[in-house]
């Protein structure tokens, strides 16, 4: 990708080149080639169902218009998506007006109109909103709403007997209950509940109302009625495609066709289909495009590809798991081998200088305390998203256990043995080669082994920055609350960790006599 965008002034990264090459190859094979398809458009999403569905809809629409599309779905949050967009790692992703104003541009609500210019200054363009508003809302059981004639939040004034229970966050936030009750002059006694339990509680009738997001699929599943925010208290979170200004104008135009096509209810239905019916994001998005009359195309390529692949679910699953596992292995192997080389060179360079060893191990230890997801996020400004930053982050994580074990091993070899070796007439190099190093090997290997297992675990988080691997199904599964999907990533990752342990045991058996193993 990167090397194709002229005038960035940065040397293309290895990861970028690799991905770019793959894309070129893939694009050439799969896309109905036309002039504008030469540069693929990278569509991204955050890691929750709605975002996946919207991104899929945008991706399929672009494909039907003849563009080559790369999907980077399930990135780990607003910060990562926006950074990636500004850096040109991705070209478009679905975002919400409220999030843009508050989380990205840090505008007060009054300035929301200034959003467009501020974004354009960063080379970003907000396309027309898709229609629905995914904001805080109050929901009550549909039957109760019908019985009591509840339609708007202000109606609650006359129903002080309702058992309203809100998530703890909603009860605390100024734009939650405190502000809402002031704005509407509601004087109701309310209680708190763990957010995850609220739907269950309202479904079994133990509470009468709670705070929800207005497009949650649960609203449909449990037949809840959303009360209209008649005073416009809640900020508006209108979904829209956030696109790089330098994206092909025809692609942008194609995406504007989505404007106003999805209302709250249809978004709810699509979320419910993903979360409760287990439909794939791609199928849901495809269905929506068909229903919305957005399927007339200049090429049949994208629509036909599924029909051309008569593979069974099991084959697809096996292929996906294999691909993810290989990708995972590639990430960890490259990170681990580089980390091993760096850490061992460093350890040999410093172990004879006591204070330096301490300082270096200490700094490496500090690095280890940075939460992995934060370290991944910190990598984005440096290395963008995808393969390279993930490898860099894993590498940084792996250095400590290897370095610390190596320095400890080298500095704790019995000094009398080393003295005997020297007194016998071994040169410093021979002493290192025949005595010092072999005696340190078991502990050094143990360090590499620890790093390898940490690496395999941490690499599942790399999916948050679009690096793929076994984290991909885990992130998707978490978004869908789909245990099966999570296991598609977690089980191979666990197996990989076990296999790694076994491989290292075999290596240790070869390199160290039994009585010296750690």
């Amino acid at each position: 990708m990167r090397q194709m965008r002229a005038g960035k002034g940065k040397a293309p990264s290895l990861g970028g080149l690799l991905i770019g090459t793959l894309l070129l190859a893939f694009g050439a094979a799969a896309a109905p080639v036309s002039a504008e398809a030469a540069r693929p458009i990278t569509v991204a999403s955050k890691n929750f169902p709605e975002s996946y569905i919207l991104a899929e809809a945008m991706a399929q629409l672009l494909e039907r218009e003849g563009f080559a599309v790369v999907r980077r779905l399930g990135l780990g949050g607003t910060l990562i998506c926006y950074q990636a967009l500004v850096n040109g790692e991705i070209d478009v992703y679905p975002e919400y007006t409220g999030t843009i104003a508050e989380a990205i541009l840090k505008l007060s609500r009054a300035d929301a109109a200034g959003m467009g210019p501020a974004l354009r200054a960063a080379g970003i363009e907000p396309l027309p909103a898709l229609g629905f508003n995914n904001t805080y809302a109050l929901a009550v059981p549909g039957q109760l709403a019908a019985e009591r004639g509840l339609a708007r939040i202000s109606d609650l004034k006359h129903h002080a007997d309702l058992r309203l229970t809100f998530s703890h966050e909603f009860l605390e936030r100024d734009d939650g209950w405190p502000g809402l009750s002031r704005a509407y002059g509601l004087d109701l006694s309310v209680t708190g509940i763990e957010h995850g339990l609220a739907y269950q509680a309202i479904a079994d009738g133990s509470i009468d109302g709670t705070d929800v997001y207005s497009t949650d699929g649960e609203l449909m599943r449990y037949s809840l009625a959303v009360l209209e925010d008649d005073q416009g208290f809640f900020p508006r979170y209108l979904a829209l495609p956030l696109v790089r200004a330098d994206v092909d104008a025809r692609a942008k135009f194609a995406l504007t066709r989505l404007a106003g096509t999805i209302d709250d209810a249809s978004m709810r239905a699509m979320n419910a289909a993903a979360v409760f019916e287990g439909e794939s994001f791609a199928a849901i998005a495809g269905g929506f495009l068909g229903d919305a009359g957005l399927t007339e195309t200049r090429s049949e390529g994208a629509a036909d590809t599924t029909a051309e692949q008569p593979e069974t679910d099991l084959e697809r699953l096996a292929k996906e798991m294999l691909d993810n596992t290989l990708r995972h292995l590639e990430l960890t192997a490259i990170a681990l081998s580089s980390a091993t080389a760096i850490a061992l060179v460093a350890a040999f360079a410093i172990f004879r200088v006591g204070w330096l060893s301490k300082a270096v191990v200490y700094v490496a230890g500090l690095l280890q305390t940075v939460p992995s997801i934060a370290l991944l996020a910190l990598m984005i400004p440096v290395a963008g998203i995808g393969w390279l930053p993930a490898v860099l982050a894993l590498l940084l994580y792996s250095i400590l256990p290897i370095l610390r074990n190596a320095v400890t091993a080298l500095t704790t070899v019995d000094p009398l043995l080393l003295e005997v070796a020297k007194a016998m007439g071994l040169t410093p190099a021979q002493e290192l080669r025949y005595i010092h190093l072999p005696l340190s090997v078991p502990a050094i290997l143990a360090g590499i082994r620890t790093a390898a297992v940490i690496c395999i675990g941490t690499a599942t988080l790399a999916a948050f920055i679009g690096a793929g691997g076994l984290g991909d199904p885990i992130v998707t599964g978490l978004a869908l609350n789909d245990t099966g999907k999570i296991l598609e990533g977690a089980v191979p990752a666990a197996l990989l960790a076990i296999v790694t342990e076994l491989v290292f045991e075999a290596i240790e058996r070869r390199l160290a006599p039994a009585h010296l193993r750690v």
Partner: protein
């Protein structure tokens, strides 16, 4: 028997080691000062003294593990070299208390390591290895075991084999038998004596055990009070202790 000598610090005719006005300090503390002594070639010299008297330091001045701050140390007729000290050390076998065999190497590897580094052919290495093992009263099948798989007494014998592998011109032994239990020690003395008989290498034996010194050494050097108090043939020292410190040492072992 060594040549007939009398009194303190007599010069042996043919010294393997000669210290001339040697001083060694750690920081501002002089461990040895004004040491003027030489040890006879081809004999076993015991360097005896109490803990902390500087006897190990004296030994380490000989193979250049420590450098004198004053005076001259001559070994085998030459000053201890400043450069290429490894080649020099390979001419001087070295064994220590606790044997300190390399735990990751088999007995054979421990003993033959230097010979490998010197490029001895396999056949010659094996011959010398088994010659030494049998001279030390060790079974040949011990060669393939690791140090932790053999007894402490056996480890010490292997340590001596390792020191003697290259047919050194000298042996430096730092309390080589101190960590062995008394019964095994009684077994190893005759073995050591027989080996010295067969390969009469100039040997410096550091020990705090006067009984061991009496048993094994031809010459005695008594270290204490920051120097060598008395040095000479065993009988001469035993008959005429130079001062009360020597007398006390001798009595402690009588």
């Amino acid at each position: 028997m060594p040549p007939d000598t009398h009194g303190a610090n007599q010069e042996p005719a043919e010294p393997c080691v000669a210290l001339k006005q040697v001083g060694k300090r750690f920081g501002s503390n002089w461990v040895l000062r004004g040491v003027d002594v030489s040890f006879p070639a081809g004999a076993v010299t015991a360097i005896v003294g109490e803990s902390g008297s500087g006897k190990t330091t004296l030994l380490q001045l000989v193979n250049g593990m420590r450098r004198a701050d004053e005076g001259r140390v001559e070994v085998l007729g030459e000053p201890v070299p400043e450069r290429d000290v490894e080649a020099f050390r390979r001419r001087i076998g070295y064994a220590v208390q606790g044997a300190r065999l390399f735990p990751h190497m088999t007995v054979a590897r421990n003993v033959t390591l230097l010979a490998r580094l010197e490029g001895w052919p396999e056949e010659r290495r094996q011959r010398r290895l088994h010659e030494l093992l049998s001279a030390m009263g060790l079974e040949a099948d011990i060669a393939d075991r690791y140090p932790h798989q053999i007894s402490g007494g056996q480890q010490h014998r292997v340590g001596l084999c390792r020191a003697m592998m290259l047919h050194p011109d000298m042996l430096l032994l730092d309390e080589p038998f101190s960590a062995i239990d008394p019964i095994n020690r009684a077994d190893i003395y005759p073995v050591f004596e027989a080996l010295h008989e067969r390969e009469p290498i100039s040997t410096l034996l550091v020990t705090h055990d006067m009984a061991e010194a009496r048993r094994l050494a031809d010459y005695l050097a008594i270290v204490g009070d920051g120097g060598v108090i008395q040095a000479g043939a065993r009988e001469a020292v035993l008959e005429a202790p130079a001062n009360a410190t020597v007398t006390r040492l001798l009595e402690a072992s009588a």
